[in-house]
């Protein structure tokens, strides 16, 4: 469960989140959509406790992040896996990148780690790339390695920032299927940011639309498709006519 209550955040005089309240119920796929620079990635960082809001409350599994110090936040973050929009892969080979959270969280044998890394790579359609260096790979490949790293420790909450950016339609669909299958299998709580609105709505249970730091829509996927709000309508249906 993730809950934000009237969250405000600004960088200098650039107001990025301007009173956002939303709730992601447990075992739900929540799609966060919105135009560029709306504050979507910043909102993920607030949920993960990487950025502290200027005001408002953030709850992860009924625990408020505000009063926690960095060491206590680290404990909450163990429940969260995150795919970064800009990959944020480490200067290590692919296998070490993906295995990193496993090594930090559990004491597994090398065989077990190698097995789980291979399984992840299989799932993101990059088998056999263990020894490659991420810096030498394409944007879409790095994205998928990020997905593998975010999910290998099977966290109960996963945040995917643009999981299909830079991917062809077939691989995109594979990634969406992966997100959905694993969410259903483990009842995880998932938030997905995506510019591929049509694609992400095929797997989402609920949708939120962020625009200029405000949540202008929050509801089920069907409500989103039927919304009469001009901005939401325009965005969900990809129209050029409208307020955006």
């Amino acid at each position: 469960m993730i809950r934000l209550e009237d969250v405000h955040l600004a960088f200098g005089d650039n107001t990025v989140l301007d009173g956002v309240s939303l709730e992601v119920p447990p075992a739900c796929i929540y799609a966060l959509i919105g135009p560029g620079a709306a504050g979507k990635s910043v909102l993920f960082k607030v949920v993960a406790g990487l950025l502290r809001p200027a005001s408002g409350k953030v709850f992860v599994d009924d625990e408020e992040l505000g009063p926690l110090n960095e060491i206590e936040l680290a404990r909450v973050r163990k429940k969260i896996g995150m795919l970064f929009q800009n990959y944020a892969l480490f200067d290590m080979n692919v296998a070490e990148n993906i295995a990193f959270p496993l090594r930090r969280l559990f004491d597994l044998s090398e065989e077990e780690i190698a097995e789980r890394v291979a399984e992840r790579l299989e799932r993101v359609a990059l088998p056999g790339t263990e020894h490659r260096i991420p810096q030498s790979m394409s944007g879409g490949q790095k994205k998928r390695i990020g997905v593998a790293r975010a999910t290998i420790a099977r966290p109960p909450i996963v945040l995917y920032d643009e999981p299909t950016a830079g991917l062809d339609p077939v691989t995109s669909q594979k990634i969406y299927d992966l997100v959905q299958e694993e969410q259903r299998a483990q009842d995880t709580t998932v938030m997905v940011i995506s510019s591929d609105v049509a694609g992400v709505l095929t797997i989402a249970d609920r949708v939120g639309m962020l625009h200029e730091g405000r949540l202008i829509f929050d509801g089920t996927t069907d409500d989103a498709k039927a919304s009469t709000d001009p901005a939401v309508r325009q965005f969900v249906h990809g129209l050029t006519e409208g307020p955006l």
């Binding site: 970064f84 944020a88 480490f90 420790a153």
Partner: protein, 265 residues
């Protein structure tokens, strides 16, 4: 950061406030460093890698610098003392006391800070701007635990070792200058009669403290990086300036304590 151009044109009072805020931020990183020093999860080889990096980066540079510093101090001391007492028999004894009690650590720590501090801040800072530090935080690796602690341990150990080696080099170059310029034989120069155990303890405590301070200040600066690759440049400058300032303040503190508890004969 209080001393660099990103904070220029502030009133003296605001500047003092900035210094205190920076000190507080470093203290917080220090607290977390101590926490993880005990409870953290060490990656095998991480400390050794950092020790090698620090030694490899700075040993040669430090030896050259300390050789010149030793030569200059001996030469200037010789010139001045010639005017007061035309007797060089104690030049080695006073020089060694000064070197062990303070100079080897305190003067050597400044060039060490430029080399080691800049390296730590640049490395951590570039990980911040590429969001790798955020990724570490999401992968159950507190950046203080994963990045600062191994650098802290390595800087304390390797920094002390390098400062001691630098002290020996300064001793050697001082001896050479004394021989060549003032006809003081190495035998007369090597006079430990004024050096006490207390001096040695004081000198080594300084070296250890400076090594730790360089890592904490530079680590904190690196982690506080913002604003792309230009921000990494700022963080690096601030790390060097901040480390040097910390060394000077800590020298004052430790020397004051030493003045009362480890009297200089």
């Amino acid at each position: 950061m209080a001393f660099t151009a990103r904070a220029e044109n502030v009133s003296p009072l605001a500047a003092l406030k900035n210094v205190l805020q920076d000190a507080l931020a470093v203290a917080r990183v220090g607290r977390r460093t101590m926490h993880y020093l005990i409870r953290g999860k060490r990656e095998p080889g991480s400390v050794a890698r950092q020790m090698f990096a620090i030694g490899n980066q700075s040993l040669f540079f430090m030896c050259i610098t300390m050789a010149f510093i030793g030569a200059i101090i001996t030469f200037q001391t010789g010139l001045q003392s010639k005017k007061l007492v035309p007797d060089f028999s104690m030049i080695g004894a006073t020089y060694l006391k000064l070197l062990i009690r303070d100079l080897a650590a305190s003067v050597g720590a400044l060039p060490l800070a430029t080399r080691v501090g800049a390296g730590i801040a640049a490395e951590i800072g570039s990980m911040v701007v590429t969001e790798q530090v955020d990724a570490l935080r999401m992968c159950a690796a507190d950046p203080v635990d994963y990045l600062v602690v191994p650098r802290f341990i390595a800087s304390v150990i390797m920094g002390t070792v390098i400062l001691i080696i630098g002290g020996f080099v300064a001793y050697g170059s001082g001896m050479l200058v004394a021989q060549l310029m003032f006809d003081v034989s190495p035998h007369t120069f090597t006079n430990l009669s004024l050096v006490t155990m207390g001096d040695l303890v004081l000198g080594v405590s300084k070296a250890v403290t400076y090594g730790g301070a360089i890592a904490l200040v530079s680590g904190q600066r690196g982690l506080a990086t913002f604003g792309g690759s230009e921000g990494v440049g700022w963080a690096t400058t601030e790390a060097v300036v901040g480390s040097c300032f910390a060394i000077i303040v800590l020298n004052l503190v430790i020397s004051t304590i030493g003045y009362f508890f480890v009297p200089a004969l």
